[in-house]
C-alpha cells in the first residue's frame, strides 16, 4: 500500500533528457505546461500530444511507469469528460434524450480537457523521473536565487525541500516497521467501520510522529556538528553547466512555441478552415 507512492520518484537511465541541465528542464517543463493551454484547435493539440509522446520515448522511461503516474487521476479525467460530453451544448447535435445532449462542442471540450490534463501530468512526472531530487532542488535554488535581493532565504528553503524528499523513503520504511510491530501485538487494521479504522491508526501515528521529531533533532545535531551554516559563499560539489545540447533544446522549444502561438493567434492561419478554433 504505502509502497505505491511515486512522489518524486526517479528512474535512473542515461537518455538525452536525463543529461539536460536541470535548470533548463524545469524552465522547459513550465513553458510546455503553459503551451498546453494555448492549443485551441485540433492540429495544434495533435502536435502537442505527439511532442509529449516523443519526449516519453526519448527519455527511455518505461511506458508502464508513465501510465502509473496517470492512474491516480484516471477516474477524475473519465468523470469530468463524461460530464462535459453530456451537458455542454453547442455546435452540431448528435444525440438528444431528456437532459442528455451530445453535441460536437461537448465532445471537443471533453477531448481537449482529457488531453490537456494527461499531457500535464505526463510532462511533469517526466521531469521527476529524469531528474534526481537533489538535482531538482539544487536547480530550483539556482533559479530562485535572484529572489535573494528581496531577503528571501532561498538556500534554506531549498535545503528544507531536499530534506523533505530525502525522508520520504525513510518514513515509508518506518510506517511498515511500526505497522508490523503493532500487528504482532494483535492490532487489527482491517475490520470495523470508518471510526474504528481511524482509531486503529493511533498506534501507528503516535510512534511515527515521535520518531520523525527524533530524526529531525538528530539531523539538526549532525548538521551543527559539521558546522552547517546557511550556505552563503559556499561552493558546489556538482557544478551545473549549460551545454550545447541544452541550448539546442531551448532553441527547438522556442521554434515549437512560436509555431503553436502562430497556429492559434495569427489571423492569417486561424482563418484557414483546417485551423478552425474549436474551443
Amino acid at each position: 500500500m504505502v509502497k505505491d507512492i511515486t512522489i518524486g520518484q526517479y528512474f535512473p537511465s542515461d537518455s538525452i533528457i536525463h543529461r539536460l541541465d536541470p535548470r533548463v528542464k524545469i524552465v522547459l517543463t513550465l513553458v510546455l505546461i503553459v503551451c498546453i493551454f494555448i492549443c485551441k484547435n485540433i492540429p495544434s493539440l495533435l502536435a502537442f500530444v505527439l511532442i509529449t509522446a516523443l519526449l516519453v520515448l526519448v527519455s527511455k522511461v518505461p511506458l508502464k511507469m508513465v501510465l502509473k503516474s496517470i492512474k491516480p487521476i484516471a477516474i477524475v479525467i473519465l468523470f469530468t469528460s463524461l460530464l462535459n460530453i453530456f451537458y455542454i451544448r453547442g455546435g452540431t447535435v448528435f444525440f438528444e434524450w431528456k437532459f442528455i445532449h451530445i453535441t460536437s462542442k461537448g465532445l471537443f471540450t471533453a477531448l481537449f480537457m482529457a488531453a490537456r490534463v494527461i499531457c500535464l501530468v505526463v510532462i511533469s512526472s517526466l521531469l521527476t523521473y529524469t531528474t534526481t531530487p537533489t538535482m531538482l532542488t539544487d536547480a530550483i535554488e539556482r533559479l530562485l536565487s535572484p529572489l535573494k535581493i528581496f531577503k528571501i532565504p532561498v538556500h534554506t528553503l531549498s535545503m528544507m525541500m531536499t530534506l523533505a524528499l530525502r525522508f520520504i523513503p525513510v518514513l515509508i520504511d518506518e510506517i511498515d516497521r511500526i505497522t508490523n510491530a503493532q500487528k504482532a501485538r494483535g492490532a487489527d487494521f482491517e475490520t470495523g467501520g470508518l471510526i474504528k479504522k481511524a482509531q486503529a491508526m493511533i498506534p501507528i501515528i503516535v510512534p511515527l510522529f515521535i520518531s520523525s521529531i527524533k530524526h529531525a533533532y538528530e539531523l539538526a545535531d549532525a548538521m551543527d556538528c559539521r558546522c552547517y551554516t546557511d550556505g552563503s559563499g559556499r561552493t558546489r560539489m556538482k557544478q551545473m553547466k549549460t551545454k550545447a545540447s541544452d541550448y539546442a533544446a531551448l532553441f527547438v522549444s522556442l521554434v515549437f512555441v512560436t509555431a503553436l502561438i502562430l497556429c492559434n493567434y495569427a489571423p492569417f492561419i486561424t482563418g484557414l478552415t483546417f485551423f478552425n478554433t474549436v474551443i
Binding site: 508490523n180 510491530a181 500487528k183 504482532a184 501485538r185 494483535g186 492490532a187 503516535v206 510512534p207 515521535i210
Partner: protein
C-alpha cells in the same frame, strides 16, 4: 510429542519478479520442542528477522509451511490472527512501538486486543512488568519518560503480557550497554524457567547466545547451516568464523592457550566456564 513449531521447506522471496529480488529464506526446515530456549544466530542479513516473521503469520511464505502444535498457521484468516497471540514476536528496537499515555496502558495493548476481561488484563500486566523488572512507580509514567533500557523492557513486557506459548525476541540486546544486555538475558532465562514457555532468542552475538540458550540454530545466507546443542554447535569454530560469526572471546583465548602449549579444554563458551577451567589447571 508434537513440536510446538515445525517449519517445513520454507522459502521467502522479497520483491518477486523485480530486479532487486532477494531470496531471504531458502528451503528452511526445523522443529522446536516445548519449553526449549533456542538461540537463532546469523550474520546481519542472513534472514533471521524474515524467518521469525513467518512463525506468527506476519509474512506469508512464498512456499512451504509453518505448523503450530501440528496445525498450519496459514490455513485461514482466523488461524493467522490466532497465531499472533500464540506466538509473541517482539521486533528489533521494539521501543519504537510504544504509543500509549502510560506504560501500564501500553503493556495492556496486546491483552486488550485479545478481548480478555479487565481483571485478567490487570493480572497479566502486573506479571509481565515484574518479569522485566519495571517498578510500580514506572507504570503510571509516560513510556517516553523512561530510559532507553527501560523502554526496551516495557516493550518486551507488552509482548509477554499476551502470555504466548512461544516468545520470540528479535535482537533484544541490540544497542544496549553490557549491564542492560545482561539484565535482558537474565530476564529471558528467568521467564523460560518460571513459565516453561518456549523462547526463541534472535541475536548475532555468540556471547549472548552462549550465556543463555540450550540449543542454537545457525543461519547463513537464508539457509539453516547448523542446529543442535549449544556446546556441539560452538565447537565448530572454523565453520562459524567463515560465516562471519565471531566465536566468543573466551573461546578464542582458550584455543590460543592450547596452541601455546597449555593443556586446556577448548570447549569453553562463557566467562564462568573459563574461570572454572583455569582454576582446575592452577590446582593441578
Amino acid at each position: 510429542m508434537t513440536p510446538v513449531i515445525s517449519v517445513q521447506n520454507l522459502n521467502y522471496i522479497y520483491n518477486v519478479g523485480l530486479p532487486n529480488e532477494v531470496r531471504a529464506v531458502e528451503n528452511v526446515s526445523f522443529d522446536i520442542g516445548h519449553g526449549e530456549l533456542i538461540g537463532l544466530i546469523g550474520h546481519t542479513g542472513s534472514g533471521k528477522s524474515t524467518l521469525v516473521q513467518h512463525l506468527n503469520g506476519l509474512l506469508k511464505p512464498s512456499s512451504g509451511d509453518v505448523l503450530l502444535d501440528g496445525k498450519s498457521i496459514f490455513e485461514s484468516k482466523s488461524t493467522i490472527h490466532e497465531a499472533k497471540f500464540k506466538v509473541g514476536l517482539c521486533f528489533q528496537y521494539p521501543e519504537y512501538q510504544l504509543f500509549e499515555e502510560t506504560v501500564e496502558k501500553d503493556i495492556a495493548f496486546g491483552p486488550t486486543n485479545m478481548k480478555l476481561d479487565k481483571e485478567e488484563i490487570v493480572r497479566r500486566v502486573v506479571k509481565a512488568a515484574s518479569f522485566v523488572g519495571l517498578k510500580p512507580e514506572h507504570m503510571k509514567k509516560s513510556p517516553f519518560e523512561l530510559s532507553g533500557g527501560e523502554k526496551r523492557r516495557a516493550a518486551i513486557a507488552g509482548v509477554m503480557a499476551m502470555e504466548p506459548q512461544v516468545l520470540i525476541l528479535d535482537e533484544p540486546t541490540a544497542g544496549l550497554d553490557p549491564n542492560g544486555r545482561d539484565k535482558i538475558l537474565n530476564m529471558v532465562k528467568l521467564y523460560r524457567d518460571t513459565t516453561g514457555c518456549t523462547v526463541i532468542l534472535v541475536s548475532h552475538s555468540m556471547e549472548d547466545v552462549a550465556k543463555t540458550c540450550d540449543k542454537v540454530l545457525v543461519m547463513n545466507k537464508g539457509c539453516v547451516e547448523m542446529f543442535g546443542k549449544t556446546d556441539d554447535v560452538f565447537c565448530r569454530y572454523e565453520e562459524l568464523s567463515s560465516m562471519g560469526l565471531n566465536v566468543p572471546q573466551v573461546s578464542r583465548i582458550f584455543s590460543l592457550l592450547k596452541k601455546g602449549g597449555l593443556n586446556v579444554n577448548t570447549e569453553v563458551f562463557t566467562v564462568e566456564a573459563g574461570v572454572n577451567e583455569l582454576l582446575k589447571i592452577l590446582k593441578r
